[in-house]
């Protein structure tokens, strides 16, 4: 009996995910985000997939704890999908749906890898949502966000600097802090500060001098991150900086300068730091270093190769052979047990999410908020590229998480806050607050924006 279910559910899961992906792209094409039938279909697919995934886990393991966990997860997802639109009527449904989808897949995969971690992750997700729910409200109330430019910048530098000096080592990088048993990775939260700093600094003035000033702050943050051996975050900060400056100035010269600077800096880092060299050598020929440097990557490639198109089935593979699988290589474990087709759909869902964010950014005519939405979108999609590209050895490993799916409180909370910042700005936009030519001009004037 169990054999039938696991074999058939492989295909069921993949089909659900493919249909879901199609829904995501259809929602992108629509003029507005108010196509209810589509969201109902998306939700049905989400819950159907959750049912199949957890049914599989429970049947194959024969352990009832998965059934309990399933109920908890469904309650959360249902609450999130129902509650948020009630609190904020104008919420962007596609973004909310995708967030729930990713969280659902993440909790399922983590519970397969380590049940205890999944329970912790569940609590973190709950906490994150609780905090995030206030964000759209706060955004509409707080008026001085644009004025805190240098505070964002300095706090960011100081926090990263403090971690560099007094932080703890995690997997060889000095990037974490522990307070009462809870480990934080502050660089995650500083991401938000960087975006706010750039948006505040560049929304009005984009002179060369102003860009140079921001370069000092952003550069310091990147250098501190490289020194802490947090290469992934350093790259994400750098990419976000270059792209936000590009949009703010509308000057392709900065994009070229950024690309050139990035190449020079990467080469310098390669020559100067041994841990960078290790990653590059392991990337160029992981098989030659299979016993040491290349171990993690080759194990990840084994997982993806063994999983093939439809996967080995939940609990049928051996994803724990990959080091740090629940954080840096969660995509590989998804491919191994749920299949590469599922993995590709997952990437496409995330890409559609990125496009949705870009679509929102285009609609906003308040520069400050536009830069924030755009910056968050770039950070998010670039991080996905780093973690997936590293896992399949397209690029050297950087050791960053797959937001919402990987285990990790800081990553999950930061990404959720980012998503709700976008939601907040979107809600403003729907109410006419951020539009250059809005219906509610009075509110525009009250907020003191635009010409």
């Amino acid at each position: 009996m169990q054999e039938y279910i696991t074999e058939l559910s492989k295909y069921g899961i993949t089909i659900c995910m493919m249909l879901y992906t199609v829904c995501c792209f259809v929602s992108l094409w629509r003029k507005n985000e108010k196509v209810h039938a589509l969201y109902v279909l998306q939700s049905i697919l989400l819950f159907l997939m959750q049912l199949i995934l957890f049914l599989n886990l429970a049947l194959v393991s024969g352990n009832m704890k998965y059934v309990f966990f399933y109920v908890f997860v469904q309650v959360f997802l249902l609450a999130c999908l129902v509650m948020v639109p009630i609190i904020y009527e104008e919420v962007n449904r596609p973004l909310l749906n995708i967030m729930c989808m990713l969280i659902g897949i993440g909790l399922c995969i983590i519970s397969r890898l380590s049940f205890n971690k999944a329970v912790r992750q569940y609590i973190i997700v709950l906490m994150s949502l609780t905090i995030s729910l206030f964000i759209p409200y706060l955004l509409s109330r707080i008026k001085f966000l644009k004025k805190l430019t240098w505070i964002y910048g300095l706090v960011g530098v100081v926090v990263l600097g403090v971690v560099l000096f007094v932080g703890e080592y995690t997997h060889g990088s000095k990037i974490t802090f522990t307070i009462k048993d809870i480990t934080f990775q502050p660089s995650e939260f500083v991401k938000i500060l960087l975006i706010f700093f750039l948006a505040a600094a560049l929304w009005e003035k984009t002179s060369f001098l102003r860009v140079a000033e921001t370069a000092v702050i952003a550069g310091m943050e990147v250098i501190i991150l490289v020194a802490s051996k947090d290469l992934g975050s350093a790259l994400i900060f750098f990419a976000a900086y270059v792209f936000v400056v590009f949009i703010a100035t509308r000057n392709y010269f900065y994009l070229l300068l950024g690309a050139a600077g990035g190449c020079v800096a990467s080469y310098a880092a390669f020559r100067l730091f041994e841990h960078v060299q290790t990653r590059v050598y392991a990337w160029r020929d992981p098989w030659a270093y299979i016993d040491n440097k290349g171990w993690a990557v080759t194990q990840s490639l084994f997982a993806i190769g063994s999983g093939s198109w439809f996967g080995m089935g939940l609990l049928k593979g051996n994803p724990k052979a990959i080091p740090y699988v629940d954080q840096d290589f969660v995509f590989s474990s998804v491919c191994e047990e749920l299949g590469v087709l599922f993995g590709i759909c997952l990437i496409l869902v995330i890409v559609s999410c990125f496009f949705m964010i870009m679509k929102i950014a285009i609609q906003i005519h308040d520069r400050f908020y536009q830069l924030i939405v755009y910056g968050i979108g770039i950070m998010y999609v670039f991080q996905i590229f780093l973690t997936v590209g590293g896992g399949i050895n397209l690029i050297p490993l950087t050791g960053v998480t797959l937001p919402f799916i990987s285990y990790g409180g800081s990553s999950c909370m930061t990404t959720m806050i980012m998503f709700f910042i976008i939601q907040g700005i979107y809600i403003r936009l729907q109410k006419g607050g951020g539009k250059y030519v809005g219906r509610k001009k009075a509110e525009n004037k009250a907020n003191g924006q635009q010409t």
């Binding site: 169990q2 590009f246 949009i247 084994f302 190769g305 890409v351 990125f354 590229f385 397209l394």
Partner: protein
């Protein structure tokens, strides 16, 4: 005014946002493309890698499938005792030791090549459920090879106690019909004899000499020197004449004919048929070394072979920089040149097949336990190693070797054979030479290609050609 203008310009970043969106679209298209490429090309390699712990997962669910000859004889199978303990049985013992290989001390041969198929199962879902209920493993898929038991037996008997290798392939398909390497071993006892095989390195029993053995090609290399001469003198090669006194001298270097015999006045064909070293050293000295290096490149020297079996790379050094002495030695297949028997077999097959090389292969198809084909392998061409006209000329030269030259033991049979012998000297003491033969039959429409090396036996004409004859006989008798 200026400021307002700038502000309106800044207002709308739509094109820039769209451009960054497109940029990431391309990046992710590349990412997904690479992922698809990786999975579709590397799945088997990934599962076969011994560092991949997932093999054990498959082996705990399925037992290893069987390996069959092309006529359906069992070459390897897994037998189960009452306690579900598995034993790998090789009914032909030593006969297929290198080509079928073993699977318990690492893997070799077909056991290694087809490992992915053997440990995967495509049995029906119903069977899986029944087996699951009964608590027994699923049968792995079965692999049908291109190997022919009868020809393999003849080759093995004929090679007898000598060290060496025999390869028999189908010219038009690249199917490997037989592959023998001596000394051999009994894969049934591999676990017991493993330590002594590893420690007693001098006889290199575990080396598959047919694909990994590197030998001086000796006179068989004259096929290649002749090809280069024809390429450089397409209209006049037949006018070539040389008076052979039994040796050839160039400045301080001297080349002797085999056993110092003098061949007298020889033309191009006779030089080849009689395998006259002096004449070929003379031809070699007149060749354009850069063009020769290109020809060697065409023939896959110093390069990867289109071969899935584990093999060694043949090596040869020809360039403007080498000395005249080296050039003379190289032209007659001595010097630093080294070749594997399988490589020589591939070149011979290309000559027989109008210049087109078919990729050699051993796995014909994979079937599930019910006999349904899971995957079938088709013959595939690698490409032209030489022009058809060049192949035809070489073929006629190889016919003359049988008709009036060193392979006359193949003359006057029910089929017409063609080939080239070689006696590769491997040290300076006279008489110590490996016996080579590479050739095909029937010459009119070649079907089967045989390459033989007998280590330390003597001349190719005396020791390798008779083996080829028995193998050709067996092939045509079976037809």
């Amino acid at each position: 005014m200026e400021e307002r203008k700038q502000k309106t310009r800044r207002m709308d970043s739509k094109p820039e946002i769209i451009i960054s969106g497109c940029f990431f679209l391309i990046i992710f298209a590349l990412l997904i493309g690479y992922l698809v490429y990786f999975v579709s090309t590397s799945e088997q390699d990934m599962i076969n890698n011994s560092y991949n712990s997932r093999q054990e997962i498959l082996l705990s669910q399925n037992y290893r499938g069987s390996i069959f000859s092309r006529d359906g004889d069992v070459l390897a199978e897994t037998q189960m005792d009452a306690g579900q303990n598995e034993t790998r049985i090789y009914p032909y013992k030593n006969l297929f030791s290198h080509i079928v290989g073993y699977s318990t001390q690492g893997r070799m041969g077909v056991e290694a090549l087809a490992n992915y198929y053997l440990i995967n199962t495509n049995t029906s879902l119903n069977n899986k459920v029944v087996n699951d209920m009964a608590g027994v493993k699923n049968p792995g898929d079965n692999v049908y090879t291109t190997l022919d038991v009868e020809i393999q037996q003849v080759a093995d008997e004929q090679l007898s106690i000598y060290k060496g290798a025999v390869i028999v392939t189908e010219v038009k398909t690249g199917k490997v019909l037989a592959l023998v390497s001596h000394p051999d071993f009994d894969p049934n006892e591999i676990n017991d004899i493993w330590d002594s095989l590893i420690n007693n390195d001098s006889s290199s029993v575990l080396v598959n000499r047919a694909t990994q053995g590197l030998y001086p090609p000796g006179s068989t290399f004259k096929i290649i020197t002749a090809l280069e001469y024809i390429r450089e003198n397409p209209n006049t090669y037949n006018n070539y004449v040389f008076g052979c006194p039994g040796y050839f001298r160039f400045e301080d270097s001297k080349i002797n004919c085999y056993h110092g015999s003098s061949h007298g006045q020889v033309n191009f064909e006779k030089s080849f048929a009689k395998s006259c070293n002096s004449s070929f050293a003379n031809i070699g000295m007149g060749l354009d070394r850069t063009a020769f290096a290109d020809t060697l490149d065409d023939l896959l020297f110093n390069r990867k072979l289109p071969l899935t079996l584990t093999y060694a790379k043949s090596s040869v050094q020809v360039s403007e920089d080498i000395s005249d002495d080296e050039m003379m030695q190289t032209s007659i297949g001595q010097g630093k040149t080294q070749i594997t028997p399988i490589h020589l077999n591939m070149i011979t097959c290309a000559i027989a097949n109008k210049g087109l090389l078919m990729k050699p292969y051993v796995i014909d198809r994979v079937e599930n336990d019910a006999g349904n084909v899971v995957k079938a392998f088709k013959p595939s061409g690698y490409g032209k190693l030489m022009e058809e006209s060049e192949a035809e000329i070489l073929k006629s030269l190889m016919i003359s070797v049988v008709e009036s030259g060193t392979a006359s033991k193949l003359k006057g049979l029910s089929y017409t054979a063609a080939g080239k012998t070689g006696s590769a000297e491997y040290n300076n003491v006279k008489g110590d030479s490996h016996a080579w033969f590479t050739g095909f039959a029937p010459a009119e429409d070649p079907e089967v290609c045989v390459t033989i090396i007998v280590e330390g036996a003597g001349s190719g004409g005396d020791y390798a050609v008779p083996i080829a004859r028995r193998i050709f006989d067996a092939y045509f008798r079976e037809k």
